[in-house]
């Protein structure tokens, strides 16, 4: 019997890479494998960068030959110099810090509320029936639409930014969390009944863990949308922040500043997305494989 068991394990471990690696990695194999990985990464990076490089080349040529007026299309070198100047002078870091603080505050308020309502709707059908449609209807109108209305109520101070970011971050968490609980496969319900789990145990061992990947997904959407909305608010009504800096650049026809801030906004957005994506994949190592 023990031989049979062993062979079953071997079949399984060759199927799951993790065990195979632990079982049979010699150092030579190890380094050669990593060489391959490095080469692959370098090739991928080279290919991936070729499109941005091509755009940069066209941009440089167009600007240098003055195919487009320099007031409309500044030289890449000028944009780079401006980015550097703004960073060294502290203008860019200062405005960026203002924006990030606003995003963090709004995300904290809206995200926590979204999580709470998501759990509530997921666990209680009645609360979803009473509150759900109204909340969803209100949030169906995009954040940017609410902006002018909120401006009338809250003025154009910090409150406005926090309220709008919170409003934006609320929905992704609410939708993902309540959805994850509601679509939790019925088969796990059978299991909790067979194991005689109490309400608290069911919450602790089944519902909360199953919701964590949904929280990560909701967080990713909330940060992406929150960042987007914040930039818009700052462009329209603010005296500080990275979006304001961009608008200031446009109004004073300093296109190099506009480009510099654009690049920073894009990079920060990308950075956030990658970071939360990594978090998402970490929390959901099991859900990638089970499909439910």
């Amino acid at each position: 019997m023990s031989i049979e068991v062993l062979s079953d394990q071997r079949i399984a471990s060759s199927g799951t890479l993790r065990f195979a690696r632990v079982a049979g990695r010699s150092s030579a194999l190890f380094s050669r494998r990593w060489m391959k990985v490095w080469k692959g990464t370098a090739m991928a990076a080279l290919l991936g960068l070729s499109l941005p490089a091509a755009i940069l080349a066209i941009w440089t040529i167009a600007a240098r030959m003055e195919l487009v007026a320099p007031q409309i299309l500044p030289m890449p070198s000028l944009v780079w110099a401006t980015t550097w100047d703004l960073t060294v002078s502290g203008d860019l870091p200062r405005e960026l810090a203002v924006s990030l603080a606003r995003l963090a505050g709004g995300l904290l308020i809206g995200g926590a509320l979204g999580l709470a309502f998501g759990l509530l709707f997921g666990l209680s059908r009645a609360s979803e029936a009473y509150l759900g449609p109204t909340l969803r209807a209100i949030f169906l109108v995009p954040s940017l639409g609410w902006l002018p209305f909120f401006m009338m109520i809250f003025g154009i101070g910090e409150t406005l930014k926090f309220v709008l970011i919170a409003k934006t971050c609320f929905l992704p968490l609410m939708v993902n969390v309540s959805g994850a609980i509601q679509t939790l496969p019925a088969k796990y319900h059978d299991v909790t009944r067979c194991l005689e789990l109490s309400r608290q145990e069911r919450l602790r061992y089944v519902i909360i863990p199953s919701v964590i990947p949904a929280i990560a997904i909701g967080l990713r959407q909330a940060i992406a949308k929150g960042w987007k909305t914040l930039i818009l608010v700052e462009m329209i009504s603010s005296a500080a922040g990275i979006g304001y800096l961009m608008m200031w650049g446009r109004k004073s026809f300093q296109l190099d500043v506009v480009f510099a801030t654009m690049i920073v906004i894009a990079l920060v957005g990308l950075l956030f997305d990658r970071a939360v994506l990594a978090l998402q994949q970490r929390t959901a190592d099991w859900s990638l494989h089970t499909g439910g």
């Binding site: 991936g48 002018p148 956030f272």
Partner: protein, 248 residues
């Protein structure tokens, strides 16, 4: 049905009654005033050109985004080297706020319907591309094998096998894309236009007309709601036969 509307009715009643006290009525208006404004708009016909303009721009933007988005997705799903070339740049752009382009659009192509359409298309392109690409790339290998066994060439495989097999995913991403196109158009109108629902909101806000702002928001909400339901039923009708095939 009563349960679904309960909270809304409750909020509206509380708002209407509460607005009688204090000075908040000036900022908040009242439900009756908003309803009155909506009625006035539809009777005088004031709102229709704005709504029509927004819808036209959304559809134009959506059309461009749908065509280019699915085409890129199909090309990249069919050709790994093409995917390696474009994937990093497109994925990076996906997580970038599209509004950053608005100031440039205004400078480059001025104010009017063109920047609105451009922003609408840009907003919806990435959603459509991202969703379709995922579906097209992960089409079951058995379809592609079948295509190869039947001697299908590159284009036949792409259009006769890959595209239909990913049908449900493409439909879903198009649905989302239309909503994004609509919201993108409003965004554009708020920053770079003198017509449309987005412009109406900004204009009403600058003249401190709360009832009009809320009335416009209600119209936008209603259109989004209607669009979602229309698309949901359309998707169900269209995708029912596809789903059975692709998800089997």
């Amino acid at each position: 049905m009563f349960r679904h509307g309960f909270t809304l009715l409750f909020l509206l009643a509380a708002w209407q009654l509460g607005a009688g006290f204090g000075a908040t009525a000036y900022y908040l208006s009242t439900p009756v005033q908003v309803a009155d404004r909506l009625l006035e708009w539809s009777m005088s016909g004031y709102v229709w050109p704005h709504l029509l303009s927004t819808i036209e721009c959304s559809l134009a933007g959506f059309g461009v985004a749908a065509f280019v988005g699915t085409l890129f997705a199909l090309a990249m799903a069919s050709s790994p080297s093409f995917a390696r070339l474009l994937e990093p740049a497109l994925f990076a752009a996906f997580s970038t706020p599209k509004i950053v382009i608005a100031p440039l659009l205004i400078l480059w192509i001025g104010v009017g319907t063109l920047p609105v359409i451009a922003l609408s298309a840009l907003s919806s392109f990435f959603v459509i591309f991202y969703g379709s690409y995922g579906g097209l790339r992960d089409v079951s290998g058995s379809y592609i094998d079948t295509a190869a066994v039947l001697g299908a060439g590159y284009w036949t495989t792409a259009f006769q096998f890959r595209l239909p097999a990913a049908g449900p995913y493409i439909l879903a991403s198009l649905t989302q894309g239309l909503i994004y196109a609509f919201h993108g158009a409003i965004l554009g109108e708020m920053t770079a236009s003198d017509t449309g629902m987005g412009y109406l909101i900004v204009y009403s806000a600058t003249s401190m007309d709360a009832a009009s702002v809320l009335a416009a928001l209600a119209v936008i909400g209603a259109v989004t709601f209607g669009l979602l339901h229309l698309l949901a039923s359309a998707t169900r009708a269209l995708a029912a036969p596809l789903n059975a095939e692709a998800l089997a």
